[in-house]
């Protein structure tokens, strides 16, 4: 479970987060939807403790992110905003490295790596160096390194950007599978179709604040609009920075 309460963060002249509060529950896919520059990445970074909020706090499984970042990071898997691969390592070494950083060792580590490679259907590329991988293959490695330690919570920052159809399907299937296992999934996006299709719970944020939240249907009902798209535009009051 991931929770933020009154998160605020200002950069020089920009108020990136302005009292952001929401909860992402276990067994649900929660989408953080907002236009570009709404503060999505800043919010996720403060959850894994790379950014210190000016006010408020973020919690993962009731552990405070600012006070105990290492414990929080043990409980989450991260698919970051920009992911770069270690191009001189093979996909398997790559995943094993991050598994080891999460404290897995010996047989347990090997089993975890084998399992995630099988889960993501990446046996064919497992022993190739990641330099020259296609976007889809790179994404599989990034997903594998995020979930190899079987985290209870998974955070994805704009996971579907630049993905082809096949890769999007891989991602979607993975997220559904993790939801069935009762894990908490939080992802940010500015692509509405994706959020509408995938999420059980949507948090719409604009200018660092929550504008509305609920299931896609609930949001449609609340605004009296037939489509989620119209509901969304009504809620944020602008069409700027949104991809339909």
């Amino acid at each position: 479970m991931i929770k933020t309460e009154g998160l605020a963060k200002a950069y020089k002249d920009v108020q990136a987060l302005n009292g952001l509060s929401f909860t992402a529950d276990d067994g649900q896919i929660t989408g953080l939807l907002g236009p570009n520059g709404a503060g999505k990445t800043t919010c996720l970074r403060s959850i894994y403790g790379l950014i210190k909020a000016d006010a408020g706090y973020a919690e993962v499984d009731q552990v405070n992110a600012a006070e105990n970042p290492l414990e929080v990071r043990r409980r989450i898997g991260i698919f970051p905003d920009k992911f770069g691969l270690q191009e001189r390592l093979t996909a398997r070494e790559h995943v094993a490295y991050f598994a080891a950083l999460h404290g897995l060792q010996g047989q347990a580590l090997k089993a975890a790596v084998d399992r995630v490679i099988a889960d993501l259907d990446m046996q064919e590329i497992a022993d190739r160096r990641t330099a020259g991988f296609s976007q889809g293959q790179r994404m599989k490695v990034a997903l594998a390194q995020a979930i190899v330690h079987q985290p209870q919570n998974l955070i994805l920052d704009e996971p579907s950007r630049g993905l082809d159809v096949m890769s999007t399907r891989i991602l979607r299937q993975l997220l559904y599978r993790l939801r069935e296992q009762g894990r908490c999934i939080l992802f940010s996006s500015h692509v509405m179709q994706e959020v509408a299709a995938l999420c059980d719970h949507v948090v719409i944020m604009v200018a660092g604040q929550v504008k509305a939240e609920g299931s896609p249907q609930a949001l449609c009902e609340r605004t009296g609009k037939a489509s989620f798209e119209d509901a969304f535009v009504t809620l944020i009051g602008t069409e700027e920075g949104i991809m339909l």
Binding site: L50, L70, R73, I78, G103
Partner: protein, 380 residues
Amino acid sequence: MSSVFLTIWRKEMIDAVRDRRSLMAAMSYALFGPLLMAVAFLVLIKDVVSERDVRVHIDGAEYAPALVEFLESRRILAGNDEHPAQDIWLTIPEDYQSRLERARPIPIIVRSDYSERNLQSQRSRLESALREYNQTIAMHRLTLRGISGEVIQPLRVERQDTATKGSRAALVLGMVMVFVLMSVFFSGMNVAIDTSAGERERNALEFLLAQPVATHILVAAKMTAAATFAILGGVLALLLIPAVFLFVPLEKLGIDFAFSPMDQLVIALTLIPLALFASILQLFVSFRAKSFKEAQTYISLVMFAPMAAVFALEFSRFEHPVLQLLPVTSQHHVLFSTIAGQPIAFIPVLIGGLVTLLLTGLLVWVVTRMLRSEKVVFGL
């Protein structure tokens, strides 16, 4: 905790070994220094040991065949087409023989541009040969008149060189040791850049920092990986020096070069703190850079300082007790004493090493703080 350290170190090592650029950079500095010195010495020895022929213009050689023959025995020859004469003219007068027979002074002219420094040594060789010939004739004349030649030699100057073979070696080989220090600084440089600025350039830094790893362990492991390369470069240079100098006849310069495995071991050990210090310094600089190229620019500026210090010490022979305690200069001191054949004073060596490690620790702390700062990490 330590297993995470080892994991990161091992990964960085694999990464670096697979990176041709890092590997080549590490090895080339270690190879380059000793080889360069060997070539320099070979040239130097040739220059010093084999006296080259001096070619001059001789006017009136036919009037004084004995003098010309004597000059030839001192390898001072008249120029010809194959070996053109230098701009030094020796003029022997027509009445040389008759003046010699009458024991009258014979005007011999040595004409040359005396402000021309290049010809300095040739001129003085010619003049000293003439002086020697002068002396020989004078001796003969005195002996003929029943007077011992010693009466015109009130002073006899004898040179006694107090330089030991070791100290002379130190003078020359100090330069070689500078190359050992340099290879420590340069061998790990590429790894240090790749593991910091390179990581950022690949967009891998944020993800790495979001792992459940204490930042200081991350920094220490990356530093140790770069330092491993640095120390390997230094050790390679150390091993190469005796190997290379096997082929250089240093004894012709009167240099006794003994570099025992024990010396090498002691030097290698003193280089370990230096390697760590150099690596964390490089990390400190390149974690601030946005790209590999930018880091290279900054680092070459920063690396200039310790190198300048070593070269300055090497040439000025400046000594001060504090220098034995500071990083770089303390290690330089140890290296220098070893080749000068002086016994190693272990207390200053230990203190120098400890001070270096202390500064290294301080820099680890600074870099750790840097990586916790969102400003540095995200460039906000």
